[in-house]
Symmetry: C2
Subunit: 268 residues, 2 copies
Amino acid sequence: MKAVEKLARAVENIDSLLCVGLDTDIKKIPKFLLKKKDPVLAFNKKIVDATSDLVCAYKLNMAFYEALGLSGIISLKKTMEYIPKNVPVVLDGKRGDIGNTAQKYAAAIFDYFRADATTLNPYMGEDSILPFSEYREKLSFVLCLTSNPTAREFQFLKNSGKPLYLQVADRVKRWNKNKNLGLVVGATHPGQIKDIRKAAGRMPFLIPGVGSQKGDLGAAVKYGSAGGALALINSSREIIYPSSGKDFAVQARLKAIQLYQSINLARN
Amino acid sequence: MKAVEKLARAVENIDSLLCVGLDTDIKKIPKFLLKKKDPVLAFNKKIVDATSDLVCAYKLNMAFYEALGLSGIISLKKTMEYIPKNVPVVLDGKRGDIGNTAQKYAAAIFDYFRADATTLNPYMGEDSILPFSEYREKLSFVLCLTSNPTAREFQFLKNSGKPLYLQVADRVKRWNKNKNLGLVVGATHPGQIKDIRKAAGRMPFLIPGVGSQKGDLGAAVKYGSAGGALALINSSREIIYPSSGKDFAVQARLKAIQLYQSINLARN
């Protein structure tokens, strides 16, 4: 099944736009898990068990796993295998390189880790995106307007009156011949999401920034899913680290329920 | 020792600006190596043995190793350990993410793999660069003007008359408080390298694109090293795959000597 269909099905069946970010930091997980052979995997399994009926997708940020070297790669691979097959997984790597190199990154993400979707950086242009979009059954979200404070340094620069993030949205829409590209749009820019949706047509949005980064959930939901488009509202730190006690997974579930309900309130 | 000093020393001692890219593709290495337990490592060792007296640095592109999953990470780590301590290594990952994530990528590249230097993507602004520049003894090259054909799609967009690649050069110069940032500038843009050098002051340049991508070696050397600045002239495919026979390392050495000599002719 194509990743976009798998995602649409998950959104419908679970009635959810919630994407939980498994950005698992070994320094932040409950201390008692450090006795386990693979603490990161043990943590992820409990979080997945506690939330998989609430999410339309999981997002795993590769950096948190790479920082642990070989053992992190093992935890990542095993987590990917553990997540139920009907839940799409975004492997968030923000890769971007020349064509022959982008092919190798795509092989790592789609063939080795078997992710459904990924994130890409547009700086180097279409060459760096094509090897990913050629995986027709997969989905790639290209950075458009990011959620971090210094996003505006380059992304807001205007050319012929149009900021870089809209230039990116326009190009990605043009590159989207296989209907498997989307955009990353931070919820911290409520004033801009509307314009990006207008430029992007119905391309799926991956929207980070509603949790610790204090983005605008209302605007994220409204413009993210405008016209029936797919939108993944992601939260990582705020969901997965509410407690360092034995009850961490229960507390994470409660956080996930809260956000799930807030999103669905905003949808209606 | 700081990476910039290590690099300056290597450039002087070896009288070389040549950086050999170990972008080792298991599909392109001599077939007889596939009998080895770790063919990629075996290939890299032979190339390093055959070229380490000719280079000021090696560059390893992470994608080629990640594509092989766990075994690729092992090959990468072991290659990093094998390269002589006096030769600086650029671990080329072109990472770029929000602050807390960039910290993790920096830990992977500098703490786990123990690289001297890396490459970064500027799209998300200073947040994504700072966690790297805070490793004061390391060196990070930020993508400015890349060597690939579609580089111009975004990098040439002008704001107030100044193209994005020069906006990036200006910003990186401002961020460079720890004197450990440089720029990636493709040799395929000879007309632009001069302007970038002017904007960048004496920041080190990493210059890809002189090999298979047919960039302009003369302009790369002239403006790369103008005013005594550090410049790494990188070639990967063209150096490491000249032969698929038993003599592959000897042939790679001959290719490296040719480029080493061409670079030094252009320097004088």
